[in-house]
């Protein structure tokens, strides 16, 4: 099991290293964004998933790392405080220090109050930053230049990609190892039962502050990588959007699994990269995706992978392929139906459409979509998405029935699912 996990990991790393050889410039840029988002999500999830502290202001630490890095790159008359490859250390130190202070206050409370304090810290920075032009460059932000170092120019994005990849892999490795240290185990205890930890003799405030600061330290590295990549930093980085984005990414990926948030963040960044070019409603799709994941697979993508792997081990592919095929078909139909409906409505209610109807004298001109024209008053136009969605839901119900039947038919071995195999990915369950 462990060996297979290592093998998959190795293959992924090889793929990541080889990727720039076959990717276009814009894809490489997207790749850098995906890597940074993955690291940020994993750093966030150390706090949220492993230690159970839901932060709403993590952009503060990402931003702090980014700005500190820009300052460090500009230092010494533009020569830089450190050689470019070591710049993320500046982000790490900044994230750690800011996190120690912020964490000391935030972890005085738990639950909703903790979330509110982190939210307040994030909003405070966002409100304050444009006024401190010396630190944050006002509304225009700060810009800088990557300096060559060790014979590398860092002028093209392939080199930046590899620099980012190296740091992200290093940090993910460190985060993984952290969960296997005593303080990492304490983080799990804090999540499960902070109250009881005190009766074990733990000073939960100090422990929470440390875990918080380690999370913000890696968030600072992610911010630094961002600053190196875009050679600038602007105060909008402190915006709540980024804090919300990392939260959504982590939960979509599966916040309690170690690599879940990384997968979620990479997929969502890629989704944004692809879909934001295709449609203006891409934030709506992202929101829909989040709601559906929370409703139907609250343990995220990693939880889904885990469940599928377990079902395969118990029943075998032969019993399950029908359910898989039905699920795939249902998903395709539902995606098609939803997309059609959203795009149709978006065009129908757009300003362009209103203008068109006024100019043309025709109150309901046809809407061009997916290579065809759709009359808004025709029943057929609306029947199509309704049919797609109905068929999708029907298939979904059938798939679920197949799935349940296959699992019920499988020999009900009493081995509790949480302790057998797959535990390597689940940091909480492995001991």
């Amino acid at each position: 099991m462990n060996r297979r996990f290592l093998l998959v990991g190795l293959l992924v790393v090889i793929a990541l290293v080889a990727a720039p050889l076959v990717m276009s410039q814009s894809l490489i840029n997207a790749g850098i964004q995906m890597l940074i988002a993955s690291l940020f999500a994993c750093a966030f999830s150390l706090l949220c998933g492993q230690a159970g502290m839901l932060s709403f202001g993590h952009s503060a630490f990402f931003g702090a790392g980014a700005f500190a890095t820009v300052h460090a790159m500009d230092a010494m008359g533009g020569a830089g405080l450190l050689p470019t490859p070591f710049m993320p250390l500046v982000g790490a130190v900044t994230g750690l220090l800011v996190g120690l202070v912020a964490g000391w206050f935030a972890t005085k409370r738990t639950g909703v109050y903790f979330a509110m304090i982190t939210l307040a810290i994030g909003e405070l920075l966002y409100a304050l930053a444009p006024h401190l032009s010396g630190w944050f460059g006002g509304e225009a932000g700060l810009s800088t230049m990557r300096m060559p170092a060790f014979g590398l120019s860092f002028a093209d994005n392939v080199q930046v990609y590899y620099l980012t990849l190296a740091w992200v892999l290093l940090c993910l490795g460190l985060l993984y190892l952290f969960m296997r240290t005593p303080l990492g185990r304490v983080a799990l205890g804090l999540r499960e039962n902070t109250h009881r930890m005190r009766f074990f003799g733990y000073n939960v405030h100090v422990a929470s502050t440390l875990v918080f600061a380690i999370s913000t330290m890696f968030s600072g590295v992610a911010g630094a990588l961002q600053a190196i990549n875009i050679e600038s930093a602007n105060y909008v980085i402190f915006n709540l959007d980024l804090s919300a984005q990392v939260l959504l990414n982590s939960y979509i990926g599966g916040v309690t699994y170690f690599l879940g948030p990384a997968v979620g963040a990479a997929l969502m960044s890629f989704f944004g990269y692809v879909v934001s070019d295709l449609t203006t409603s891409w934030l709506l799709y992202q929101g829909l995706l989040f709601v559906l994941v929370m409703l139907f697979m609250p343990r995220g993508i990693a939880g889904l992978v885990h469940a599928v792997a377990q079902a395969l081990r118990r029943c075998g592919f032969a019993r399950l392929w029908r359910a898989f095929a039905l699920y795939l078909g249902a998903t395709a139909l539902l995606v098609a139906g939803t997309t059609f409906l959203v795009e149709l409505l978006q065009r129908l209610f757009s300003q362009d459409y209103r203008a068109l109807s006024q100019i043309g004298g025709n109150a309901w001109p046809d809407i061009p979509l997916f290579g065809a024209s759709w009359a808004p008053l025709s029943v057929l136009t609306w029947l199509l998405p309704v049919l797609l969605l109905t068929a999708g839901i029907w298939l979904l119900a059938r798939a679920a029935r197949h799935w349940r039947r296959a699992l019920a038919l499988a020999a009900p071995d009493d081995d509790s699912p949480a302790t057998t195999g797959g535990g390597r990915l689940v940091s909480g369950a492995s001991s």
Binding site: F178, N203, V206, S416, A429
Partner: protein, 250 residues
């Protein structure tokens, strides 16, 4: 005579206008097993909360040996050598039994803030955790999540995490509540074994258990100790009978 391990002096606790604990004086002699009994609502659990630092006293003092512990936080009290269990199992439900115990053991090795060494390399911690598993007869369940244990196994784990901090004074809050006869007999045996040489204060409703296990018994009625003595003395005490009978009539 042995020294006093835990001593309560004029302990008061009120919530608003309601006095829950009304001037309790109690001395636990080092090495004794002391039971605290009394009708429902007498304030037994509140007294436990006061001793363990979960609640603060309205008035009075509590000493652990010659160290004053009233006013200290639960973690300080624990580190001074007093550990307690909870009436309702209060462990780490989504962590394995092994992990539950290891968390409790780890603290005693002062590893709580260590992030530069792996946990697996801590052989002393592992050995101690395994010894506890052995003692609690939970070895076979080491990898099971605490939430998936049977009720009596959860109660055993609850006692185990208390023991892990090597306390000199142990407070057990209704450890046998809800157990069957056999489970209860086994638990009495376990408690007797693991509290050997330590000081125990136990709250329990099963009178058979109380009279079998304890060296001395104190009776708490409406926030006041009305009697302290050996099991035989308590059995013969008229005031105690009245307290329980009065409760049933009311």
């Amino acid at each position: 005579m042995n020294p006093v391990a835990l001593s309560l002096r004029d302990v008061h606790k009120s919530f608003g206008d309601v006095d829950i604990i009304n001037g309790v004086d109690l001395d636990l002699i080092a090495g004794e097993r002391h039971a605290l009994i009394g009708p429902n609502g007498a304030g037994k659990s509140t007294l436990f909360h006061l001793i363990s630092g979960q609640l603060s006293l309205t008035r009075g003092t509590i000493y652990l040996g010659d160290q004053r512990i009233s006013g200290l936080t639960p973690e300080r009290v624990n580190r001074l050598g007093l550990a307690r269990s909870f009436q309702i199992t209060n462990v780490f439900p989504k962590l394995s039994v092994f992990e539950n115990l290891r968390l409790a053991v780890m603290r005693q090795h002062n590893l709580q803030y260590v992030f530069w060494r792996g946990i697996e390399g801590q052989h002393a911690v592992r050995e101690e955790t395994e010894a506890l598993l052995e003692q609690l007869h939970l070895m076979a369940r080491a990898g099971t999540l605490a939430t998936e244990l049977s009720y009596s196994e959860q109660r055993a784990l609850e006692i185990g995490v208390v023991l892990a901090s090597h306390p000199q004074v142990i407070l057990l809050d209704e450890p046998m509540a809800g157990m069957s006869r056999e489970e209860s007999a086994y638990a009495v045996d376990l408690i007797r074994k693991v509290t050997h040489g330590k000081t125990l204060l136990i709250v329990e409703h099963d009178m058979d258990v109380v009279f079998e296990l304890s060296d001395r018994i104190s009776v708490l009625v409406y926030g006041r100790i009305v009697a302290t003595g050996t099991p035989a003395e308590i059995r013969a005490n008229a005031e105690v009978k009245e307290a329980y009978l009065g409760e049933e009539v009311a």
